[in-house]
């Protein structure tokens, strides 16, 4: 179509407007199905179709025009109240909406309307009209009785037939090309840098005449940055809006009844993120309908309402957006998932045996997994949740699964507010600076400088670090980033690397050695050039000094380093030998050593944190030993004395402090507002053990004993011990900061 050349802008606008219009169209139709016919609703969708038709005339889309025309005819009959919008009518109108969308898509990708034949839909539409005489393709808009619409329906003003007339709602908004917004965002980023430089200079020069203007500059720049960020934000309902329609169609084709609920539709997200989560969310929704919600009869026999329910929830939390998709369907049968994964060879039987219940359900995220009993057209083609997971992780998000077998499933997706600006940890290694997204950072460990190898050991070919008893594999950045001159040789980590940054990605933990850790900063993320697509870097950013730093792609790093498998298994072997027959529930236990009592286990759930205190920081208050910790007074209890030599628990007075050790390892126990510290001789390890207690407790202060690594180990009952040792504190009296 040659005459289209000069009309590109108009065409693009038409496409965008039509797509928005059709979204609205679908929404109203859906609403109509539930509470039949408000005449405003009919008028509104009439207007949508009408303006599409008008624009088609100008742009020369004949198929689209005739389609819109017959839709318009049908709607005008409905508007006059001559036709009730029954299910068949609504379905037919949906079919028209699909046809229009298809044509629009082909217009968007090329210039023509594509080879779709609108005739069947047109015939179908026409068949509903009482006075149908067979000629649906009347080219004249005047056929439509516009003026004598139903009395309570506001007549469409005649002028709106011209697509160039602005709609009333459009007066306050304008359409802006996203690339322009991107450019503005870049310029603002640039301005922020200049502002930083100006601020630094004025601060250095003390009281200069520029001080006040530079403060103003600071303020305005921040506001400008915020404003420009806002222009890119869109409510999540732009994506969700399509979901009720999708669910309706799915339900129709698989004979289920599902109601969709939405909470927080106005939660705003960066446009790029919104685009990125569209497909994964749709997939999750399809899964819920197809696999989650049961057939109405099945539901009834379970005592659930026949109509299933899917709820979508979005809200902001701590600089992130949380999206929850939950259904009240069957949930995941983790046994079946385990069997399926085994059958497909996705997981080894030994590994499966050591997995706790909740982890089994996570197997659905493995590539190539699909539990659907029958493969339907909707979902269950073997590509499934793993794709959802990769997509979400690609934009720096995480997916969590909460399974309630028989009751339903909740998927919680956490995504950053915007891709443009993220908090990151700045580290220096290999004499370069790198930014690590804060989302991937678990903790930073400072290496002991005394040992020559700094505590780094070797497991097969991989360097590992013993972090609280678990082997933490370390990725060698020097190997990953540079050409490796020595292959596979066990070489000590580069001298001068003093920190391990512990990262997590895709359920794996690993560490990287870095020279120094600078600070956390909000960084402006710039994508890498398309010529440089790398699996190691997620992008680049400009630092305060104007230099460029690369942003690490943590999942990519983990994949490239290939360091996860063997060590995970070693950790499992170590922590739970022969636990396959001990049931599926596991508990994490901290193994501690105590001079007089040997090894003991403490459920990790009882411990709020572990702390090291210098021994000379112990103060005495009344007849208690205390530490100052985080601005509060922490009473401490020495486990060895508490349990006494013969095993009987001593209460009341604690013996004088032994000061031979330079630092004390303390397990902090918290109950409500109150905390107490238990001093142990050594903190050994954390292991996952089956939570069955083999022997009941023979004395107070213990829960019982169990087998850990083939040894009978006693499990301490910290709450009981705390109550016994300081009854006053753990029965209601507040200890406050003022007391010190």
């Amino acid at each position: 179509m040659d005459r289209m050349d000069g009309m590109d802008g108009i065409k693009r606008e038409f496409i965008a407007e039509t797509q928005e219009g059709m979204d609205r169209f679908d929404q109203i139709l859906l609403a109509m199905e539930k509470n039949p016919l408000t005449s405003e609703a009919v008028s509104e969708i009439f207007r949508v179709v009408h303006s599409i038709k008008g624009a088609c005339g100008t742009l020369g889309f004949a198929k689209l025009e005739s389609l819109a025309h017959s839709g318009e005819n049908l709607l005008s009959v409905m508007r006059e109240g001559k036709l009730a919008p029954g299910k068949d009518v609504v379905t037919c109108l949906f079919r028209m909406s699909d046809a229009i969308r298809r044509i629009i898509r082909s217009v968007e990708s090329g210039d023509s309307e594509g080879d779709m034949d609108p005739e069947p839909v047109i015939k179908e539409l026409a068949a509903f009209q009482p006075d149908w005489v067979g000629d649906a393709r009347s080219p004249l808009a005047d056929d439509v009785p516009l003026a004598d619409a139903a009395a309570n329906a506001p007549p469409v003003p005649e002028e709106s037939a011209s697509p160039k007339e602005p709609h009333a709602a459009l007066d306050r908004t304008i359409r802006v090309d996203v690339s322009l917004l991107d450019k503005l965002m870049n310029l603002v980023g640039e301005l922020v840098l200049v502002r930083n430089q100006v601020l630094r200079h004025t601060q250095l020069s003390g009281n200069s005449p520029l001080t006040i203007p530079s403060q103003h500059l600071n303020l305005i720049t921040s506001q400008l940055q915020e404003g420009v960020m806002k222009t890119r934000m869109q409510p999540i309902k732009n994506v969700w809006g399509k979901f009720p329609r999708i669910v309706r169609d799915l339900c129709n084709s698989c004979g289920k009844l599902v109601q969709v609920e939405m909470v927080g539709e106005d939660t705003e997200l960066d446009k790029t993120i919104l685009e990125a989560i569209k497909d994964p969310l749709t997939h999750v929704l399809r899964n819920s309908v197809d696999h989650g919600i049961e057939e109405p009869d099945v539901r009834e026999s379970w005592g659930k309402p026949r109509e299933g329910r899917i709820s979508l929830k979005a809200y902001h939390e701590g600089g992130q957006v949380i999206i929850e998709v939950s259904d009240d369907g069957a949930g995941i049968n983790s046994r079946r998932v385990a069997e399926k994964a085994l059958e497909k060879g996705l997981v080894k039987p030994e590994k499966l045996a050591t997995m706790p219940e909740w982890e089994l359900a996570q197997l659905i995220f493995l590539p190539g997994f699909s539990t659907a009993e029958k493969i339907t057209t909707l979902s269950g083609r073997g590509v499934g949740m793993d794709v959802v997971k990769t997509h979400i992780e690609k934009i720096g998000g995480t997916v969590e699964l909460f399974n309630r077998p028989g009751l339903g499933l909740t998927l919680r997706i956490k995504i950053p507010l915007t891709l443009a600006i993220i908090p990151a940890l700045i580290v220096e290694t290999l004499s370069r600076r790198f930014a690590i997204p804060q989302l991937n950072v678990l903790e930073v460990v400072r290496l002991k400088n005394t040992a020559r190898d700094k505590g780094v050991e070797w497991f097969q070919e991989t360097p590992v670090y013993r972090l609280r008893g678990r082997l933490l594999p370390l990725a060698r950045l020097d190997r990953l980033f540079e050409k490796a001159e020595t292959d596979g040789k066990a070489a000590p980590p580069p001298i001068g690397d003093n920190f391990i940054v512990v990262l997590h990605a895709e359920n794996h933990q690993f560490g990287i050695l870095v020279h120094s850790v600078q600070d956390t900063q909000e960084i402006v993320v710039k994508p890498l050039s398309k010529h440089l697509k790398s699996s190691l870097f997620a992008g680049a950013t400009i630092m305060g000094d104007g230099k460029v730093a690369l942003i690490m792609d943590v999942p990519g790093l983990a994949q490239n380093a290939r360091l996860t498998r063997g060590i995970e298994e070693a950790n499992h072997r170590e922590s739970a030998p022969g636990s396959a027959d001990q049931g599926w529930t596991k508990e994490s236990m901290l193994i501690v050593a105590c001079e007089t009592h040997g090894l003991m286990a403490v459920p990790v759930a009882n411990i709020s944190r572990l702390q090291e205190f210098p021994a000379d920081a112990v103060e005495r208050m009344a007849n208690m030993e205390v530490f100052q910790s985080r601005g509060r007074i922490l009473p401490i209890l020495r486990l060895a004395q508490l349990l006494g030599p013969g095993g009987a628990v001593q209460t009341g007075e604690t013996a004088p402090a032994l000061r031979k050790k330079r630092s004390l390892s303390v397990l902090v126990f918290t109950e409500g507002e109150r905390s107490a510290g238990f001093v142990v001789d050594r903190i050994m390890d954390i292991v996952d053990v089956a939570s069955d207690i083999h022997l009941p407790a023979g004395r107070p202060g213990f829960k019982g004993s169990t087998l850990i690594r083939g040894k009978a180990t006693e499990i301490l009952d910290l709450p009981a011990l705390a109550r016994m040792a300081i009854p006053a504190l753990f029965s209601g009296r507040e200890i406050s900061k003022a007391g010190g």
Binding site: N186, L193, A484
Partner: protein, 161 residues
């Protein structure tokens, strides 16, 4: 008539169509990128925009510029992103009719013959006109450090993301 901007790499004279050039500027700090194609010097900050810097000397197989000498960045503007070409120094602007351009001899040897669109005869030298489009063409997967043997051993997964 087309205007060309000349620049130098060592002794040799090269040219670019002036309309493809956004600006010529010195950017002191370039951040190298691990596992990028061998001719990519790294990323540079052009007033808040991150541009990929291409080391033309490496591309044409010339020895690196002495440390004492800073290269210039010839910033090429394109629709979606800017690229910087590192050259020794900029020359002048010359007018040429396109008929004066000679096809490069087909037997031309060198590391990157496909990069030369054509040759103009100057008074005392030949000006090789660089085909900007060709820089990244067919080079993304083929001739990068990644695929060179023994670059990082088994630690590398060749997976496009």
């Amino acid at each position: 008539m087309t205007q060309y901007c000349t620049f130098y790499l060592g002794e040799k004279t090269y040219g670019l169509e002036i309309l493809s050039i956004q600006e010529i500027i010195r950017i002191p700090d370039i951040t190298p990128i691990p596992h990028s194609p061998f001719f990519v010097a790294g990323l540079a900050n052009l007033r808040g925009q991150i541009v990929v810097a291409v080391d033309l000397r490496k591309l044409f197989g010339l020895p690196p510029l002495p440390k004492s000498q800073d290269p210039i960045n010839i910033i090429l503007s394109s629709d979606d992103e800017a690229i910087s070409l590192l050259a020794d120094k900029a020359g002048e602007v010359i007018d040429f009719g396109s008929e004066a351009m000679v096809q490069p001899p087909s037997l031309q040897r060198g590391p990157a013959p496909e990069m030369i669109k054509g040759v103009f005869k100057l008074k005392d030298a030949l000006m090789n006109v660089i085909d900007v489009e060709a820089i990244f063409k067919n080079r993304n997967g083929a001739d990068t450090e990644e695929s060179r043997p023994s670059s990082i051993g088994e630690a590398h997964v060749n997976e496009p993301r």
